[in-house]
Assembly symmetry: C2
């Protein structure tokens, strides 16, 4: 293939170097601890051994989940992002070894999926619903693009292209069908962007357009004896609340919602089904819209985003309340203790929102990303980088804890690739403006409309709202600064002079830059936040936010059981920054009331006018930090008087 | 047998005639509709056919639950109570037919249990845990005593005595063991009281004392292939929350708590396990204490009652929050929407409390009975007398409704026997005082220390607190009037003159009565009630009580979803009596706040200070009446500001 030519001023990961008081420890720990730790898990879980056996032409002996190849690909993607930033020879060598192994396991046709190669070589492409060959292909392609962009090497890209070409041969010709788990759609657009080969864009469009029209998934249901892999109605695989499988409704009929196949994408009104599947699909669809200007699909994306963010998203940015199908349920169902809110779904939401942000330049998408990054996503990883939440409830009786790995280990490497690629979310080039989307200390060196520009950012977020930018450019470059949704007031000074800024979403600065210093102050207060009246779980309760952070109370900081605290609606909330605690954190002490215990002994019910309350302080820490100390109760939504 | 001699001035059911604005419709409907309806169910469910097949010496063909004989016995007991009050020839004929059938089905040994007679005749008395032969024996004995007391006829009593003698032969001799479901203990004391045969008292003592020392239940677990009936570990019978059976813990070890066999009764500290089993046991133990003055058992009863009523009882009097084992869990676990609070458990609590009341003369037991009668029990039956709740949650999303019958049909005939014997709960003779326990319009004609007395009561409860008594006696008779826990002030006038009464539990009136008129006024307010601070489910919430009634809100009366209402702690609550509604009811209209909906469109989260509330009225009806109109949400515990 020919070298891909850069046709836009897209900001690449390698253009951004993060140096931030808050995020750098996470990113560094991800590189030094998590990526290393996860490589060990690839070995321990048999993931690499599966590839070795496939390489050696062996039969059987497959270990782990049938879509476990994707763990290796996600690890390769994360490691490649690190290589894009720093050429670490040891990491590069290890990446090359894994790539060599993957390449050697690939069949001559281009096919690669170690489950089918080892276990059921005759049953490839027979069980699109569950067996996730296309999902794994998507992760292979994503890893390959990341590796190619990081290193310029085509070793993995060739493997991905071979597989993509094979998929293109098979689908729409031998088989009409869509994957039960999306992911390949966005990967194919990424592949198109580095290869300029429109076949991949067309193939992505094919998968998107066929979904909801396709009766292949239903056909598989009715022909379970003719297909490979796991059975449709195996309740042990995808258990439904009432028993049976979530692929089938009570009458045994196919339920397409689980895989967003209940209606054609362009007709969908609400976000439904498995939330990670939904996010990957919508990210891919938004990529397609960016390439094709498909207005109808664009309208569907905006409609689905509105539904999700105004009716189906936790205050943490988490999505998908229900455990049984890891997904969406109904508007305003935002149960707290039973919240599923999978870490991967939060990551998927960031993927989708970032694409909408780059497509539209609208700050609301960056707001959702910020909310999710600091809360619903970040809670997914322990402070030491080796333990992970799969589920992110907003309340716990004390028995929910992070784990080192999972049988279905989707979340840990997904977190790793997000941390490793965090630089992608900080800046974008929207219509010829260098836009600061996230306030993360960093330096970006890029070209805007042919003009070279270097912008250095230092940020005190999330603990306070001071940001300083230094900009140097060869010529005039418009700079746009996002005004976060949480700020009550924003002031901007250029070289000490206040800039008049009246925009709601962005401060727009036109100018020539010669090392000019932009000082920004985002005022923020500790805020009590209410959920929509229709949200039953949060009735009479408030969440406490401070800047981009959602706070929670933990048992370890509070004497009474948490349900006994009621915040005073107009009470004081004091903030104190503690460098000695949890790697440095601003904790909150809020005026609260608790029931007085006098008179209750030997009594279960008393007249309200005979009972009393007393003053207390409720100590809160940022939600992302919970479960990093002694186990105990946690709650985000606190009663308010 | 010799005619049993009345040795005390015990008030018999036939001494009391109920004529009450509130209760008479229930009692009449129970007699005219429910008992008739339930007889039809005995036929439809195959219960009577089981007896016919056993009578005819047939094999197999058993229908229904293996303890279904007890439904016939409970029906006989209820019908007998009716015969005690009025000799209805048609009902008497039907009762006699059923008795004749039961007697004919009894084996020569005295044994009777149609499941084993038809299905596993060689496996009698092998599975004490589950197969409930002793439980059925208990209900047979209770029916027999009721029938004998009602009619003076010994037709059913002879059957019961034959069976009791057979049980006495078998237990302590051929088998050492206790029943998995209690009930025979209290029945044996009842049998002792009508026969004066101390063997039955001794047998009751044997069953009580062996419980918790006995390893027979555990032995059955380990020898499931040697025993009849249903298997120990059959999760389908007694499913545990996490799967498997509630007879076994996670390690497969026997768990005695389900059947109160975790410790000897006299050592038990907390009410545990299946709540109906617990109530029947404790009622029987209290009967024993009354006969034997066993102080240690009495202390245990008082200790367990304290635990139940101060830590494990719903405000409705319901008990046993957990569905999986129909029973108790932990202190202060009083979940509302998932509350089990079985109707039979409320009835069992009334049985136990009435025995404690008669033993001690302490009003607190009558208070629990009153609370349970008007709320947790009464909700169990529909206004038309033909539909029944098994479970009595304190909150519903709208999908919980009464049913006409159940596979396990314990509750409906249990309710029938309580309504039919309601007169037993109104008065008692405590240490030579005629005590008014419940304010139910009625006439009692009895003898107190040899003095004949007739007391006629009219009562405006529960809608208001006016009670008038007219007393006529041949000589001096002390009269005690219980002061209900809910009254804020009580005034008593005899023939228009106010009586000074300083007691806390009872007004004690000494005097001679010649048609004197006692006018009582129990002041009561609509009260907001708080639960103990440790009750998480009720934090920040109040229940609304008015006199003996607990109120609830139903969707049918209120525009907003119920979670949106918050009562004003000091707001007005207006009461209005509506004769046109629900057979006559006082409804409440309470000042409340609901979230203002302005500004919420397209928004899921807003700053608290940008949101507002608006005034609203929350309409409430007595809890016992819920689900008698259109289905919809219901809640007892309402948020309070």
């Amino acid at each position: 293939m020919s070298e891909h030519e850069q046709t836009t001023d897209e900001i690449k990961l390698s253009d951004v170097e993060i140096d931030d008081g808050f995020w750098s420890p996470w990113v560094t720990r991800n590189r030094d601890v998590t990526i290393e730790y996860q490589y060990e898990q690839l070995e321990e879980s048999g993931t690499l051994e599966n590839f070795r056996r496939a390489r050696d032409g062996k039969e059987g002996g497959f270990q782990g989940m049938w879509f476990q190849d994707s763990d290796a690909y996600k690890w390769l993607e994360a490691a490649s992002y690190e290589l894009a930033k720093t050429d670490d020879p040891a990491l590069r060598e290890r990446v090359d070894e894994v790539i060599e192994l993957v390449a050697a396991a690939q069949e001559d046709t281009g096919y690669i999926n170690t489950y089918f190669q080892l276990v059921e070589p005759e049953m490839k492409w027979t069980n699109l619903n569950i067996m996730h060959e296309l999902y794994c292909a998507g992760h292979l392609i994503e890893a390959a693009v990341a590796h190619y962009e990081a290193t310029g090497e085509e070793s993995l890209l060739d493997v991905a292209i071979n597989f993509a070409d094979h998929v293109d041969d098979v689908f729409g010709d031998r088989i009409d069908g869509v994957p039960g788990h999306e992911g390949i759609e966005l990967a194919l657009v990424r592949l198109y962007r580095v290869t300029d080969d429109e076949r991949y864009l067309d193939l992505a469009q094919y998968f998107v357009d066929l979904r909801g029209h396709d009766d292949r998934l239903e056909w598989e249901l009715e022909h379970s004896d003719e297909i490979g892999g796991h059975s449709w109605d195996d309740g042990a695989l995808i258990p439904a609340a009432g028993g049976g499988s979530l692929f089938l409704d009570e009458d045994g009929e196919y339920v397409g919602t689980y895989a967003q196949a209940h209606a054609p994408v362009r007709e969908q009104e609400t976000v439904e089904g498995h939330s990670v599947r939904a996010m990957y699909l919508f990210a891919g669809v938004t990529d397609l819209v960016a390439e094709t200007d498909d207005e109808e699909l664009f309208e569907a994306m905006k409609r689905l985003w509105e539904n999700m963010t105004t009716k189906r998203m936790y205050v943490t940015g988490g999505i998908g309340p229900e455990r049984e199908h890891e997904g969406f349920t109904e508007d305003y169902d935002l149960r707290n203790e039973d919240a599923y809110a999978e870490t991967c779904a939060a990551i998927g939401s960031i993927f989708w929102n970032q694409r909408l942000l780059e497509l539209t330049g609208e700050a609301k998408y960056a707001d959702v990303i910020e909310r999710t990054l600091y809360n619903g996503f970040l809670a997914g990883v322990s402070l030491d980088g080796t333990r992970f939440f799969y589920e992110n409830p907003l309340e716990s009786s004390g028995d929910h804890h992070r784990k080192g790995w999972f049988t279905c280990a989707c979340c840990p490497p997904n977190a790793a690739r997000l941390f490793a690629s965090l630089g992608q979310y900080v800046y974008s080039n929207v219509d010829g403006s260098l836009t600061v989307n996230q306030y993360v200390g960093s330096t970006v060196t890029t070209t805007v409309d042919g003009t070279e520009v270097e912008l250095t950012q230092s940020s005190s977020l999330p603990w306070s709202g001071e940001v300083t930018l230094t900009v140097d450019a060869d010529g005039p470059v418009p700079v746009r600064l996002r005004i976060p949704e949480w700020t009550t007031d924003a002031s901007v000074l250029i070289d000490g002079e206040e800039v008049d800024q009246s925009g709601e979403e962005y401060v727009e600065l036109d100018g020539e830059w010669g090392g000019d210093r932009i000082e920004i102050r985002f005022e923020r207060e500790t805020e009590l936040v209410r959920a929509h009246p229709a949200v039953e779980s949060d009735a009479g309760r408030v969440a406490v936010e401070r800047g981009p952070l959602v706070y929670c109370a933990e048992a370890v900081d509070n004497d009474r059981p948490l349900h006994q605290y009621a915040l005073a609606s107009d009470g004081a909330i004091d903030a104190e920054h503690r460098n000695d605690l949890l790697d440095g954190v601003t904790i909150l002490e809020a005026d609260a009331k608790v029931p007085a215990l006098d008179g209750w002994e030997g009594t279960l019910y008393r007249r309200d006018d005979e009972t009393d309350t007393e003053s207390a302080q409720l100590t809160m820490v940022p939600y992302y930090l919970w479960d990093n100390r002694e186990p105990g109760e946690m709650q985000v939504w606190t009663r308010v008087e």
